[in-house]
C-alpha cells in the first residue's frame, strides 16, 4: 500500500512517475506533490501511471484538482497509461474526455 512518487524534468514538462496504489489513504501524498509543483511555477505536468496497480475515486479527484490548478495558469496535465484496468476507471467516470492520455512519456512530452 505504498505510493512512490518520482519527479523528473523533460524539456518544460515535469514528469511525475507514480508507483503503487493511489487510494483514499495515499492520494493526499500525490495531491501535496502536485500542489508543490504548481506553486513552484510548473504548469506543464505529465503524470505517468504505468506503475500504478490501483486507482480509486480519491486518486481521480486529485488528478482533476491538479488539472484545474495548471489550467488556471494556462498549463496542461497529461497522463501516461496503457493498462486496461486503469484506463477502464477513466472511461467509466468519463475522464478520458478530460485528460489527454498517452501511451508513453515521450509521446506525452512532445504532444
Amino acid at each position: 500500500m505504498e505510493l512512490g512518487i518520482d519527479v523528473s524534468k523533460v524539456d518544460s514538462h515535469a514528469v511525475v512517475s507514480v508507483s503503487g496504489e493511489i487510494d483514499v489513504y495515499t492520494a493526499p501524498k500525490l495531491r501535496e506533490k502536485l500542489i508543490e509543483l504548481v506553486s513552484e511555477g510548473t504548469y506543464d505536468v505529465v503524470v505517468d501511471l504505468e506503475k500504478v496497480d490501483f486507482l480509486d475515486s480519491t486518486g481521480l479527484g486529485v488528478l482533476v484538482g491538479a488539472l484545474k490548478r495548471v489550467k488556471a495558469h494556462d498549463g496542461g496535465l497529461a497522463l501516461v497509461c496503457t493498462q486496461d484496468k486503469i484506463l477502464k476507471i477513466f472511461k467509466i467516470t468519463g475522464l478520458t474526455k478530460v485528460f489527454p492520455i498517452y501511451s508513453s512519456v515521450d509521446e506525452a512530452t512532445s504532444g
Binding site: E21, V24, D56, S57, G61, I92
Partner: protein, 132 residues
Amino acid sequence: MTEVEIEIPSRSVYVGVVRLALAALARSAGLSEESVDDLKIAVGEACANAVIVNEETAPDVPVKVLWTHEDSRVVVEVQGAGHPYDSSEVESEVGLAARMEMSVALLESLVDSCEVTDRPGGARTARLTVNL
C-alpha cells in the same frame, strides 16, 4: 454458503486491507481476474465512502464488511454509520462531492447490483452483488 466478516477502524489506512482480503476471497470463489479487479475497486469505493462519512460523523464506529458466497452469487455488505455513498452528508468539503459522484459511477458499473438499505440507528448498508 460461506460467510466472512471483517471489521476495520474508520481510518483510510485500513481500506487497503479490506481490498486485499476481498480480492483473495473473490479468487477463492472462482471469479475471473477481471471480476476480482472490478470487485476490488467497488468494495474499495464503498469502504472508502463509509470511512469518509464515519470520520466526519462517527469516528469511533468501525466499518463492517460482510462477505457471503452463495451458489450463484457473491454479496458484499459494507456497513457504515452514515450513508455509504451519498454526497449530501459530506458536501461541506470542497472536492468531496465530485469524488463521490465518480465513486458512485464506479460502484454502479463494476458490480451487478448496488443498493443501500437503512439500518436501525441511522446507519446504512451498501450491498454489492456479483452474479456468478
